[in-house]
């Protein structure tokens, strides 16, 4: 196989950050907050790089859609081993209502233009928790979709065997290329970008486009009415020993 692969790279608030709701209750505070590459996308990038190392792939294009700062996440992907990058610029305000429905159209358009045969995305972004972009991209391209992949093996030049995580276990499905894959947590363990690779990544090209260059309309399809903190749980009590624990559970009717 000598595939051309597209990987999606979303810039999200770092998973370890405790988010704060904006005073206007229309979103969360993003300014001055640490952002990084969506953890599932990191897994997608790693998988693509491993395919290249195994000579299954010949070129990896990293794509990020979002504000200017998305280029930082593309640099991360390039440092991990992607060959080139494309930043589709969307301003902060439009990015707030940008949903998988629009992102998938942009990705599908790029996949067509760049003649890629495999798109690997994370199974979900940890900010909007949608879990939809891969499925939607596959639909626009009319390609099959292998979501929640935990193992990808190439069978022959045009066939991959994917193990998918499903409720209650795993399933195996065989797909003919081209294909859209979404990476689950257990697909691999992403590498750290080394300093020399980070330096080298600075020389790799980042191409720039806008959604309108690609003919994709990003008019909002939802209106955010409010963003609020979930109800706080009431402070609990510490019990002294097992007997007290079991007594309290019995009193509460839980056992």
């Amino acid at each position: 196989m000598s595939l051309k692969i597209l990987v999606g790279c979303k810039r999200v608030i770092d998973y370890a950050v405790k988010i704060r709701i904006r005073p206007d209750n229309k979103g969360v505070v993003t300014q001055g907050v640490k952002h990084s590459l969506n953890p599932f996308d990191e897994i997608a990038v790693e998988e693509a790089v491993r395919m290249k190392e195994k000579k299954m792939a010949k070129e990896i294009l990293a794509v990020s859609i979002g504000p200017q700062a998305s280029q930082d996440t593309l640099r991360t992907a390039l440092a991990m081993g992607c060959d080139k990058a494309l930043h589709v610029n969307v301003d902060e305000k439009s990015a707030e209502t940008l949903l998988p429905v629009q992102v998938s159209k942009i990705l599908a358009k790029i996949a067509e233009q760049e003649k890629v045969e495999m798109v690997i995305l994370g199974k979900q972004a940890i900010d909007d928790d949608c879990n939809a972009t891969a499925q939607m991209t596959a639909a626009h391209l009319n390609w099959p979709q292998a979501t929640n992949a935990s193992k990808i093996e190439s069978k022959d030049d045009k066939t991959v065997l994917v193990t998918r995580e499903i409720d209650g276990g795993l399933e195996e499905i065989e797909y003919k290329l081209p294909i859209v894959i979404s990476a689950d947590l257990r697909l691999n363990e992403p590498r750290y970008a080394t300093l020399p690779n980070i330096m080298k990544a600075k020389k790799k090209p980042i191409d720039k486009k806008t959604p309108s260059d690609l003919g994709v309309d990003i008019t909002p399809k939802m209106e955010i009415l409010s963003v609020q903190e979930p109800a706080k749980r009431e402070a609990g009590t510490k019990v002294a020993d097992v007997d007290e624990l079991l007594t309290k559970l019995k009193e509460a009717g839980r056992i």
Binding site: V28, D129, Q135, E223, Q228, G236, L245, I255
Partner: protein, 357 residues
């Protein structure tokens, strides 16, 4: 011309329908004639070949809140048991059935064709399914084909176009108004009570989906499901979960013993899964299963954000951890600071005395 078409349809519907005309008019009022004839809901049932998934009954509760007539679709290679269960549920207008071997594995590439075919015939305003691995796989694909947004894993319905869902691993609630004419929604089961199995006898109509053919480029090979006598994790009333503190897979036996005494399911944190203690379908958290049982016992689990996202809506949370500063204690109703290797065997020894018969 559009208006004329709508009124013809209305007349047809009146002739066919048992609903009172007032009821029907109520359903029609908010419509514009933009291709959607009246507000109606298609709900795609989640089931195994043996049973109707409890998630479907919760999704029905959500669907009822939309106030539209509900059609349930049961599709799969074997649908008998699911249809039998669904027939008795009150409040469903009709069950559409499609039984075909090409639906083996509920491949999204096939499912979208079948649902699309039904939608083209009936123009639903809302299409819902439970947020199971099957639902989350095919519904976004259908949304893209219809060029509408997907409203993922809702936990509340404010009105037929206004929904509540969680973002940032459950750390924020977003209320959103969907601007598309057709609403495609997956429902988080833990946020809705199950509609009881009733005594209705809902009409069943076989739907001859011409599009239910297996795609040439996808071949379902096999599935390996973890066999368990215990209740299913997302449906269990009680969950006993272990984390990194369990130290090994063998030590989980203590939790399985306790779970058996309490008729509970066993869950795990991502750390326990990553360490290889238990298979990953036991994982509770943002990237695993979302549970909200009556009782959740977190043993040797520190309580990382990603884990809390999967269990913090449980009614009563118990934490057993030797670190008094573990974040899990901030959400636990009852906390026991103790070495789990002493506390859990002690619980196993004493619990019979406490369990209500």
């Amino acid at each position: 011309m559009m208006i004329k078409r709508c009124s013809v349809i209305l007349a047809n519907q009146l002739a066919k329908s048992n609903s009172s005309s007032a009821n029907l008019l109520k359903n029609i009022q908010p419509l514009s004639c933009n291709g959607i004839r009246w507000n109606s809901t298609l709900l795609i049932a989640d089931h195994t070949e043996e049973t109707l998934s409890p998630l479907t009954l919760k999704t029905i509760t959500a669907a009822k809140q939309l106030g539209n007539p509900i059609t349930c679709m049961v599709a799969g290679p074997k649908i008998g048991p699911a249809v039998d269960a669904l027939k008795t549920v009150d409040g469903i207008e009709k069950i559409l059935t499609i039984e075909s071997d090409s639906l083996k594995g509920w491949l999204p590439e096939v499912m979208v064709n079948v649902v699309m075919e039904a939608h083209k015939k009936n123009n639903y305003s809302h299409i819902l399914t439970g947020a199971s691995s099957v639902g989350k796989n095919f519904l976004p694909r259908l949304a893209a084909l219809l060029d509408v947004s997907l409203i993922s894993e809702i936990i509340g319905i404010k009105s037929p176009d206004t929904f509540v869902r969680t973002i940032y691993a459950g750390n924020a609630l977003m209320e959103l108004k969907a601007l598309d004419a057709i609403k495609l929604i997956t429902v988080r089961g833990t946020a809705f009570d199950a509609t009881p199995i009733g005594s209705a006898d809902c009409p069943v109509e076989a739907f001859a989906a011409e599009s239910a053919t297996a795609p040439a480029n996808v071949k379902w090979i096999k599935s390996e499901l973890t066999k368990s006598e215990r209740p299913e994790l997302t449906a269990a009333n009680r969950v006993i979960a272990g984390g990194r503190g369990m130290k090994s897979g063998e030590n989980f036996k203590m939790l399985f013993d306790l779970a058996d005494k309490l008729n509970a399911a066993v869950g795990a944190s991502r750390a326990a899964v990553d360490a290889g203690f238990v298979p990953n379908d036991l994982q509770v958290g943002q990237t695993g299963k979302i549970v909200a049982p009556e009782l959740y016992v977190a043993i040797g689990i520190s309580g990382a954000i990603q884990h809390l996202a999967g269990m913090k809506d449980s009614k009563t949370i118990v934490a057993i951890n030797k670190d008094p500063d573990a974040p899990i204690f901030q959400v636990a109703d009852l906390g026991l600071v103790a070495d789990l290797f002493q506390a859990v065997p002690e619980i196993n020894e004493k619990i019979d005395k406490y369990i209500s018969k």
